[in-house]
């Protein structure tokens, strides 16, 4: 239904009329209305339309300040975020191990050293994720059936201690520094080292903000399916214990320790270190922010000979 044009509402049709955009019944109604209202017809007939032209000489002076630094990798989904965690975390831990060795005290605040190291390497603001790949050491090589996706599949388990020399050869401590040709400030290091029975995978890159630190233990297993054998190195061992530690730079919020709160390094399967702001953003603060009742605020890394209390919890 076409709105009847009158002296009250004619203005909403006037600009389209002047610009020649009215057509059909609306145009006819407008012409009829103007014939009945000669004063308004005169007004429109005499009206000249002036259009402004943008002054291209006016530019925003601080444009560069608005821009964001391009990170070498941006997760676009959960998988990407996880992948980022898997790729990035390791540097803190392994650099620490390289620097301090396993026999030394291993306080959480030793992670303090990492940003300095990174700065020396290339003014890196770290976003590190540490992933510990732990080969299954609970049994000798053998087969067992496990359920995956509703199917029973045959899994061959390897005990890496039997191939320690070979693994050490493969994962020799030999950092491979890769620089980004397009952006010399960006680089990544990928490094794998053998720590007794654990394989530590390390990599890091220059990114803008600290987001998270993750340490996860992964099972190195071979899955036999049909006639072919497929290696699955990324299968995560079911998380048995989780420790959430925030580095001093991003202020610890909580430690979640199961089974009394003591974690031996050999038993350690996962550490997530997440910035409080990031936790809040992800809506995970509630999930991660509570220390279980009865949990001891001591963390023992059995391989390290010493027991320590992280600064963050010492005062509690």
């Amino acid at each position: 239904m076409v709105m009847k044009i009158n002296r009250i509402n004619y203005e909403q049709f006037a600009i389209d009329y002047l610009e020649g955009n009215l057509e059909g019944d609306v145009l006819k109604d407008m012409e009829k209305f103007l014939l009945e209202n000669p004063d308004l017809k005169k007004e429109l007939d005499e009206m000249e339309l002036y259009y402004l032209e943008p002054d291209e000489g006016i530019v925003f002076p601080d444009k560069e300040m608005l821009k964001k630094k391009i990170v070498f990798y941006e997760p676009k989904n959960n998988f990407g975020a996880w992948l980022l965690a898997a790729i990035l975390v390791g540097v803190v831990f392994s650099l620490f191990i390289i620097k301090h060795g396993f026999e030394n005290e291993f306080p959480i605040n030793a992670f303090h050293d990492v940003p300095t190291i990174l700065d020396e390497e290339g003014k890196i603001i770290i976003e590190n994720n540490l992933m510990i790949e732990k080969s299954n050491t609970e049994s000798k090589n053998g087969e067992k059936e496990i359920e995956r996706g509703g199917n029973q599949i045959k899994v061959e388990e390897n005990n890496p201690t039997e191939n320690k020399d070979e693994l050490n050869r493969i994962f020799a401590i030999n950092p491979d520094v890769k620089k980004d040709k397009n952006n010399p400030e960006d680089f990544s290091i990928e490094k794998n080292i053998i720590l007794d029975k654990d394989v530590v995978s390390v990599s890091f890159g220059r990114v803008e903000n600290i987001i998270s630190y993750d340490i996860g233990v992964r099972s190195e297993i071979e899955v036999e399916k049909g006639n072919g054998i497929k290696n699955i190195n990324d299968d995560l061992i079911p998380i048995e214990k989780t420790l959430v530690v925030l580095l001093p730079e991003i202020q610890p919020v909580a430690a979640v320790l199961s089974e009394g709160g003591k974690i031996g390094f050999e038993e350690l399967v996962a550490i997530d270190v997440v910035a409080p702001s990031e936790l809040a953003r992800l809506g995970r603060l509630e999930k991660w922010g509570v220390l279980p009742e009865g949990a001891e605020r001591k963390i023992k890394f059995s391989n390290l000979k010493k027991t320590f209390i992280p600064e963050a919890f010492a005062s509690k």
Binding site: F13, A14, E53, F60, E74
Partner: protein, 161 residues
């Protein structure tokens, strides 16, 4: 939207947004603040905003930011005074474009904005309605009145000049 795409948006639209803000506020510091705040808000939402909708999002944000700024500061919008007879505009010094710029200052905030969005950015009336949060019919009325007023001001300038 990635950081890279965000930076493209900055490169592409920051100047346009600044011109819009500057002409709307007639105050460079305020215009800078509006651009800065608009992009800050945009960055917070950059993962949700579609690349193709970025420009509209920015102009909508700039418009709202300006409104908030005016409310917060309880500013009274003062129409710019046209030069009086003692300071007459000389046709030799000013081109039509300059007259129009001066005349623009005589429009109300909303008239100014709809005309700027239409003329500077080439937005359709419907898009302007979305950005400014008013109906398309209202946009057309404001633009008609603004054009009428611009013409009247120009005629007046011509007479006094």
């Amino acid at each position: 939207m990635t950081s890279e795409e965000y930076n493209i948006i900055v490169e592409k639209h920051a100047d346009h947004l600044f011109r819009f803000a500057l002409k709307s506020t007639r105050n460079e510091a305020d215009a800078r603040d509006i651009v800065q705040l608009s992009f800050e808000k945009f960055w917070k939402k950059h993962q949700e905003v579609d690349f193709s909708k970025a420009k509209s999002y920015l102009f909508t944000t700039a418009h709202r930011t300006h409104i908030d700024m005016v409310r917060k500061n309880k500013r009274i919008t003062v129409m710019e005074e046209l030069p009086d007879n003692g300071n007459r505009i000389s046709a030799n010094r000013y081109e039509l474009r300059d007259f129009l710029e001066l005349a623009l200052g005589q429009l109300s905030d909303i008239q100014k904005k709809v005309v700027l969005l239409r003329d500077y950015e080439g937005y359709a009336y419907k898009e302007i309605a979305t950005i400014t949060g008013i109906s398309e019919s209202q946009v057309k009325v404001y633009i008609f009145r603004a054009r009428k007023k611009l013409q009247q001001i120009l005629i007046r300038m011509e007479k006094t000049g």
